[in-house]
């Protein structure tokens, strides 16, 4: 364990370059650098393969490096009280992450990839600049606590009035995926092979289609335990599609959702502590 909080660390050479090397590289479990002056996550600590707990609360961080994923053993990550504006999707590659604190920052959106943090039990997002959450947040099966107060979460969503129809390339791509048209990398230029790999599944159970760049954004309000209504952003492949989440009166969809499973209420029962108040 190394506790070095409330110092003036932050300049170049604050941490020894060899920090990530043996023996410390493997044996250091807890590192607390909160209350210092780090403007970036010091690269020297990214080699700490055995690190389980890292705190950089109350520093001057503006971003999280994608290489944070190198800290393979990390279970507890405290980054509250910085100036972070966005979260790299690579953060989701930390297999053991259980507690993630991002409160008191300037975060505007949560990447949907964060739903891949299967071990996540507690997520602290209060006092940021979030207007909605990605619907994938419901996939975090072990999430017990989620704090969201002090965010400008929308209470009403005005559906996009203009809908840009998909390009011909997108329509072709959708057809290939929907009809499972077989293709090999040798059949197509590399850029198209890559394009096809980026298909996202439409969450509408009646659609089962995919979309690429052209999608309809729709916010559905999910009731948590009859207490709080969370705005969850859904990406759908067309205006006719509808997501299975239970909706509030604001969403203007004509489709009935009673036949699809109410995934939102399942998640709501599981997530005991959605903390908005």
């Amino acid at each position: 364990t190394l506790l070095a909080k409330n110092n003036r660390l932050g300049g170049p050479g604050s941490l020894p370059k060899g920090l990530g090397q043996a023996p410390l590289g493997r044996s250091l479990r807890v590192l607390n650098l909160s209350g210092n002056r780090f403007a970036e996550v010091p690269p020297a600590l990214l080699g700490l393969r055995g690190l389980q707990s890292l705190s950089l609360g109350g520093n001057r961080l503006h971003s999280i490096p994608p290489d944070i994923q190198e800290l393979r053993s990390l279970e507890f990550l405290y980054l509250g009280g910085n100036f972070i504006t966005s979260i790299p999707p690579e953060l989701a590659n930390l297999p053991s992450l259980s507690y993630l604190v991002l409160c008191d920052n300037k975060i505007q959106s949560i990447p949907p990839q964060l739903a891949q943090l299967h071990s996540l039990r507690s997520l602290s997002l209060h006092n940021n600049l979030l207007t909605y959450l990605p619907r994938e947040i419901l996939n975090l099966v072990h999430l017990e606590e989620l704090s969201l107060r002090g965010n400008p979460l929308v209470v009403r969503f005005v559906r996009d009035l203009t809908y840009n129809p998909p390009s011909l390339q997108e329509l072709a791509g959708r057809t290939i995926k929907a009809r499972s048209v077989p293709y090999a990398p040798s059949d197509l230029p590399e850029n198209l092979v890559r394009y096809l790999s980026l298909a996202s599944n439409c969450p509408n159970p009646k659609c089962g289609g995919v979309y690429f760049d052209s999608c309809v954004r729709q916010i559905k309000f999910v009731d948590f335990c009859g207490k709080y209504r969370l705005p969850l952003m859904h990406y759908l492949c067309s205006p006719e599609c509808s997501s299975p989440c239970s909706s509030a009166s604001q969403s203007s969809t004509s489709q009935s959702e009673s036949d699809s499973e109410d995934e939102a209420s399942v998640a709501a029962r599981r997530m005991q502590k959605v903390l908005l108040g």
């Binding site: 409330n6 009280g81 008191d104 502590k273 903390l275």
Partner: protein
């Protein structure tokens, strides 16, 4: 509780003494808020006592960044003494009956170590938070009469929700204070 004719200045030098004096004070029908506040401020540290039904005494631990929801105090008196660290208290107005707007902040202050704050429903609602990202905080709470449920409020709408309070230290926001 109403103002008695005379108030004493107590000093508790041990936990046992604190509890003994509290029992004495609460044996009366009338208890002085200032008296209890001064007594709590004179004492530091530990344990729980259930005040034979007249009061509850408990410890709360606040990790970095932890805060409570906005809550009321179910017609009871609440004393909160800071044993370690600092806690920020934000006072809110009671929302309108059919409240449907952002709750109104009345005031906020940071309670320092050893200070003892007091609140009841006629004063208002509050949220208590440890806003430090480097230090944890510990507080000692006295409720009279004891209560095990209260209402939490959604700051954005003023809607309230009754919750049962639990007595073990929990990660995340607490409903009791």
């Amino acid at each position: 509780m109403e103002q008695p004719v005379q108030t004493e200045t107590w000093k508790a030098r041990s936990l046992e003494e604190l509890i003994r004096i509290l029992h004495r004070i609460f044996a009366e029908d009338k208890v002085s808020v200032e008296e209890v506040q001064a007594l709590m401020e004179s004492y530091t540290r530990n344990l729980v006592d259930n005040g034979n039904g007249k009061f509850n005494l408990m410890i709360l631990c606040w990790g970095e960044g932890h805060g409570s929801s906005i809550h009321d105090h179910t017609d009871s008196h609440c004393f909160m003494k800071i044993l370690q660290g600092n806690l920020k208290e934000t006072l809110f107005e009671w929302p309108e009956k059919k409240g449907n707007g952002e709750m109104i902040k009345k005031s906020e202050r940071v309670l320092r170590e050893n200070h003892c704050a007091y609140i009841n429903d006629s004063i208002g609602l509050h949220r208590v938070e440890n806003i430090s990202h480097t230090e944890s905080a510990v507080s000692l709470h006295l409720y009279s009469p004891p209560f095990d449920s209260c209402n939490t409020f959604d700051q954005r709408t003023g809607h309230k929700h009754k919750v049962k309070m639990t007595f073990y230290s929990q990660f995340g926001e607490r409903t009791l204070c």
